[in-house]
Amino acid sequence: MLSGNGFKKVFNVTGGIKAWHAKTAVGPQDLGVDLFCGKEEPEDVLTVAYSLEQGLRDFYMTMEEKAARSEVKDLFARLSDIELKHQMSIYLAYNEISNEGLSKENFEKKVEKKAMEGGLSTREYLDIFKPDLGSETDVISLAMSIEAQALDLYQRVSSKILNPHSKDIINKIANEEKAHLASLGKLMDSL
């Protein structure tokens, strides 16, 4: 989010506060994976966004299964439902911009092709971050970091889209991701 907003130099302290205490390097691997070079067309970004929403949904459904407390289960179920709605909005926005008139099925084929180029399964993703799935704090922290990335993505997409209606769609999704982050933050505070 910082890099995308003009901050000149951003360092990710790997392992965060845990590493600070333990004085060893633990936690996420290098996250310097460059997905956007900044020259993508809005269509490309929307394709990636669709895939991201699928990933988020997949992640929330996995977490819903694993969560022990009903409050946490309910939140993840709600979040995964909303991501489904986001996917539909992104598909509609894509068709408005591209004039390709793709059916949802064909659009998904296109998304899948792109996502396979450098994708991670939820399992692989969890393997990299190694959250303690028994720890609600870890799971919610991870969900928050994913939502923050999604929010960052949409804010950057929004600035590239000229069609006002499509821009509104993306801004609405961005605001909802922001609200997701706030819900997760509240949940974290309640633990």
Binding site: F11, I17, D58
Partner: protein, 73 residues
Amino acid sequence: MKWMQFFTPAESLDFKETQSYISQHPGDEMTILDVRQPSEYQESHIPGATLIPLPKLADRLNELDPEKPVLVY
């Protein structure tokens, strides 16, 4: 289902590198940013860290100086 690796590129510093970076730069020439929740910050944080919880970050970016290096955790 596969999903994209969508992280914004940011250089990573491990504990030793972070400690060395902080000791070599005056405190007012960098921002140590803690994006966790207030309760976690209260429990422990890197000395001098500014707290802006992740849910608020997008709305509060203007509180930070984009010219200064930011160490975020």
